[in-house]
Subunit: 163 residues, 2 copies
Amino acid sequence: METTNVKKEVQVINAEELLTHLKGHRKLTRRTIEIFPEEQLFTYSIGGMRSFAELIQELLGIAAPGIKEIATGNPAELQENFDHQNKKANLLEAWDKATVEIEKYWLQIEQERFQETIKSFGQYEGKVWENIFYFIDNEIHHRAQAFVYLRALGIDPPFFWDR
Amino acid sequence: METTNVKKEVQVINAEELLTHLKGHRKLTRRTIEIFPEEQLFTYSIGGMRSFAELIQELLGIAAPGIKEIATGNPAELQENFDHQNKKANLLEAWDKATVEIEKYWLQIEQERFQETIKSFGQYEGKVWENIFYFIDNEIHHRAQAFVYLRALGIDPPFFWDR
């Protein structure tokens, strides 16, 4: 019997691993929201920057709608505000809903789509993987800013490596 | 003539793209060091955190030695300080040398190695891709803290998306 000797190329990182990576970051960001004092969440700022609640709303406006757009092909609109009524619980609820949405739509993305070029939110052109990396990097970036807010408020942030 | 119909699996992200991604982040961090006022680079802090120069030294201690270790298999040691003599130019020089090292050793890493499990710096166990993602995420995290320092000092940081 002859065997065809085709070496299957190993993935640098496969889609499932990338989802796990993303979910690990979302868990850490969730913990950062939980630790943040409720009042300061909506008011505290350094150097004229946005409050952590505003940064969270930006993140909510990007990752879940962006991944839904990638999976379905239906254009997403940037929407960075919602009526949270200055309640931490409402931000956390929105965060958890977004995590469920991300997982649901992620599983509908075929592996080969990651190399496709798209225009996310009608304006950000790049490969699917580049868009997703941007979503993750942007979350790390804004959460790190919240870590500084916490330190300035005398509160220990969670461990960066604990996902 | 018969053809073997084996569908080649498309990479979510290939090794070259991941290097380009990493180098984009290093460029942005370099620009952040350049913009930072020289004196405050070594002294400025919020909430008891490390100065940006100390954070930069941590990053210098991780990415280039870590990638060299992955490529060569020779154990790396965590070394987070060097004699920079409180000069921004010395940090920038070290940064550029590290970027050259990273590129040199990166090109020696075979694609299938990214799924291998290693123990980086003799203690951090994980797949090669996980280690590399940690290097990148940690850089984004610490640079974001420097962005807050800059804002607090009344200086506009570079654009996050401009790599």
